[in-house]
Symmetry: D2
Subunit: 382 residues, 4 copies
């Protein structure tokens, strides 16, 4: 069994929890789970045992209740989700500036006490994997492991960093554990954290789950590169109506997304091509089904100019939830193999900014091969 | 040096001839030439020594004159093209039904005499590669080599087949040679021809140059497969204003295109997905810059439905011309290696219907790797 | 009250019947009904009293049952539809070539008897409006009223023409009546029928309900005209998965659609612009939600070339059903005003090929004004 | 003759000057000039006599030289433009924050002297129309005419406002004149300016030339309204590489554009629909040919949801230049009619924020009719 704790009980978490239960009951196919049933761990091996949030409207409610509210109209909600209750997590201002009434456990008690109380919960539940799906937060890498220790003690890390640190603590003290960082905060890209996980005999995957238009952009650029087409410019717009877009409307949070995308173009093409790739706006009625528009202009043979336009509607949260079904299993496999620290071959496929720091961004096609090679799996089509 | 004869002096041939001269003079970059300067043969090693057509408005004119007429507004025409004159080729009704006044050499003299006259021209010019860029013709594979011999003798092959046969004859008698079949006619997919080329110590590449939307569709489907997204349906429309679209308006010619695309979807996805992929219409003012529109609907995790739309403007002929710059060099390399018959690793990347018959269609990403492996080239980005 | 009989119990009819009941119960808003509650007749004044089809899988079943089957997932079905049973109608080969098992009433009894039996049904139900929503059929206008009488007697008309004739007969004999022709068959564009309706003191509206991309194309062209932009070319593709697209796959039926669109471009722009506007294909999983892709290229000031692309997903049947809610009311208003024959001001807005024959196609903006003027309604925004 | 002075010698001005000369010589058709040759004033009646800018790289150079630099590749430049030299204009920080070396005449001499020197130039040239095509500037309406006088004296207006005031001064003192405000600065929407023009027996048109995607959005919304489709949301992205997009990247300038678009949706639909309509970014290689992407989601009959996507490439500057060919002629017509102040019927069609302040935004179709009615012109198609 792989026991999972979720931090950040938003739409992604909800789609992961609901989808996983449905998968176990064979109510849905495993579409959107890249490694499907090819892994030694099956869907039925995964169990979400705990979920944390600081939004007062969620803390204390069951996932079933939340699903009734936010998943409405997408079919029946598995009854097993009545047993999973959202616990109060660490806040540390992770929802600052957003229209939610939030209170963290550290605001109700001593910070250190709050932290250890949660770690104790994980111990009693036997948690293997902590999945971070909270809202994008503004944050820089720490870099130095001593400073990291220092700042953790002083409550001077962001919520994501704090959970990542707590998972490492838990891993070193109680049970080898995995931290899956699905958001842009630099954890797997922070040398301090990678070192910490090596020491703690744990695994960190990240950063920033590779969904939406970015992975396709990577593969479109690879397609251009392999024909030696000269990309003149790229623009990619994103607009949606979920909390993530609301958060990205705040400039200091938007900058986090831009950073994870900036290296993509030059790493894949081998040269700088002028680009404008970033989340663009918030439009509430779009909900979780975002709208993406893209232009790529390039020179073909003879320096003739072609234009490629992409228009896309994507259910934002389910796409990431599907990747999580793989990532928790891959985390357990990494632990089984005692591959501590982080795993580039996993990060390269599943994240937008694959750790460790300084890693090259490759196309998703290349990353998929790296992943299968790392796993020793052969593509059954071949 | 690689000496090239062109059969079918249309827009593709023109872009190849003009572009190649410009490349040699460094007037343009080598955009759209996938293997750029990675090959032992350089652009300056390629020389077009002969061009054949049956359109009365072209026969006897120089490529320079044709470029003045059809390449207008795309910059100055290299003066060297004044020395290349379009010769009368074999017709065999290859332009039947199209609004061109056409007469083949076999209509002016005995069929056998016409055929051998052309082969003699090739011998005196020292031709290495014959490139077939004529208009799409309706044709079925012959299959049996004896029948192939028989039908050649009886003037019972199409123009493409006849040239392919002539190239094999030439290869066996005078100089090892390559036939690059850039159009849908099944040559590399015809076991009779592949056998003939093995016997003749020649090489045939084909069939149907992989340009336009089809290679991107292949890679988009691969992208879907690698995420286990379930493709619900695909529609892809193409409309343009060049001779190829005019020809494809004739139902018996359109069917040729449809055939080369039908295996693509199931080979890459591993299952049948309902699709509608074919050239759609002729609209004269679009000229050579075709308009492609595409929809791909798929299920994401949780069986949520996403929709991907692609709108594309493509300069049709230059795209194929750029591939020819590689194919004539790859043909010479295959001859150098004495790899006779056909080469799947080349066909898989450069053609829509890679020979030999029965070959699997793989994504272009996979094909690109197969190609680099076959060549022993390492991607310089890695 | 306005009593309506439907001929052709397909998806359009179903959306009309279900939507109307929901409107009466205030379960939905009146979106998609252009004249909303501005007319003297209200939604509650409309009653569907009879529905006819020849598809054996529909005849004898209730609309409620059909809605359960085809409207699934779009909310609860009004129980009143349990009282409306599909009656066997006139066939006359209207489903020839399509994969349905069909049998018309005239195949079970004498043709004349079948016709009069249906007219008698209308009389006993007090029908005011007959709405034709059957599948597109190949047909030419009759032109001459004597020939029309002749062909009706000889069972030599298509199903649509036969119903249109029957409605006129009914109108002259029993009760003034309206025939709303929502399909491409030329009825309001057939001088013979218009004359027949004048004599019969009835009204015919048509032809071909103006939904989908065509009305928008009309208004886009008007937009171009009003800026004196020179349209270079237009291409418009349509693909869907409903019966109408299946039928249009048959060439002789497709030609009917092409005809209703050909005059549009030149009538609005004032010059011929090369165009390719027609239903393109059938792709079953798209269902009733068709995919439209369009390109319009034009010259702006200084002869600079701009390109406009439209990608559209349209629920095909509801769009037409919404227009029918107006058309049955407008038909009754025309009867009240004793405006017999046909009404260009109504046809111009609601149809693609507005009768009478020879009428100019205007943009939908102009048509909307003509319509409001005819009605004496003032746009409340002004 | 209509003598025109341009303020802001950017791309729009260049396309106006070059295009007008070409029109006079019949080198191009009058595409993009909405009222074409329907007006009493002909293209040959228009003469650009003066052009002002503060960019040091432009001041003192001829329009011919600028055209050689910026209009390259769009055909030969009329030689008459060698006689038109860019004069130093008023700066007042209108290029603040932009990467141009700028110096205004008021920086070389006394402010009052600079202003009157320019007015004297207009007098000696006999200027009739001053056209404002400078870069978007951040500015609020003044509102009160006394404050306007005050701020003009104190050099406390923006460059646009200062030119508008100068034109009124010139009109009252020397010759009735027109100010065409093609940029977002509120001039025709400033009650103080409208009053000033009435007093000065001059005409002001504005504000913000209606080109790009906004007029089409207006007509698409009208199309939705006339079918009673319920618009759920609208997003519209714009990205380009000209100076205007560069300027709009500065938040205080972007806000000016957003303001002119906010009333559009509710005025035309009659209700508020959530929208995100604004210039989105700057991408240099796109140059003057911007990329627009749009989504409109709406409910059709039965509350079925449709989605409309628009992708558009627009030559930005020529589109506005074409409107100016009308606006200078309409200005002269207004003067001939002694219709002083501003003219809603002109502004409604040609501008995004039609003055006077508080005017309703109507669809461009309606506006076109208002315009033709005001002119007494009958659409020749009818």
């Amino acid at each position: 069994m792989i026991k999972v704790a979720i931090v950040g009980q938003g739409l992604v978490a909800l789609h992961f929890e609901v989808g996983l239960e449905k998968l176990k009951r064979n109510e849905i196919s495993d579409y959107g789970v890249p490694l499907r049933n090819w892994l030694p761990y099956k869907y039925s091996d995964i169990e979400v045992v705990s979920a944390y949030d600081v939004d007062e409207s969620k803390v204390g409610r069951t996932i079933y209740e939340l699903a009734k509210q936010y998943y409405e109209g997408n079919g029946p909600i598995p009854g097993t989700l009545k047993d999973l209750i959202v616990k109060r997590g660490i806040h540390l201002n992770s929802l600052k500036g957003l229209p939610f009434k939030a209170r963290g456990r550290e605001e109700l008690m001593d910070y250190e006490k709050a932290v250890w109380e949660i770690i104790d919960e994980w111990r009693s539940l036997g948690v293997d994997v902590v999945v971070n799906t909270m809202t994008t937060e503004p944050v820089e890498p720490v870099g130095n492991i001593n400073e990291l220790h220092e700042r953790f003690r002083a409550a001077g890390l962001t919520a994501s960093q704090t959970y990542a640190y707590m998972t490492a603590l838990y891993s070193s003290k109680y049970k080898n554990a995995v931290f899956v960082n699905a958001i842009p905060s630099p954890i797997a890209n922070d040398p301090a954290f990678v070192e910490l996980y090596k020491i703690s005999r744990g695994v960190v995957f990240g950063d920033d789950g590779s969904t939406g238009a970015t992975p396709l952009t990577a593969d479109l650029l690879e397609h251009m590169y392999e024909r030696n087409r000269k990309v003149i410019d790229i623009a990619q717009f994103n607009i949606g109506g979920n909390t993530d877009f609301l958060a990205l409307n705040l400039p200091e949070r938007n900058i986090m997304k831009k950073k994870t995308k900036s290296a993509l173009v030059s790493d894949i093409l081998g040269y700088e091509a002028p680009n404008y790739i970033r989340p663009t706006g918030y439009l509430e009625p779009l909900g979780d089904k975002k709208f993406v528009a893209m232009i790529i202009e390039y020179y073909s043979f003879g320096e003739f100019k072609d234009e490629l336009y992409v228009v896309w509607r994507i259910n934002d949260s389910p796409a990431l939830a599907g990747l999580l079904v793989d990532l928790v299993r891959l985390g357990k496999i990494a632990l089984d193999r005692e591959t501590y620290g982080t795993v580039y071959e996993v990060n390269a496929f599943y994240t937008k900014k694959p750790g460790p720091s300084g890693s090259r961004i490759v196309s998703k096609f290349k990353a998929y091969e790296l992943l299968l090679n790392w796993l020793g799996i052969k593509d059954p089509r071949m």
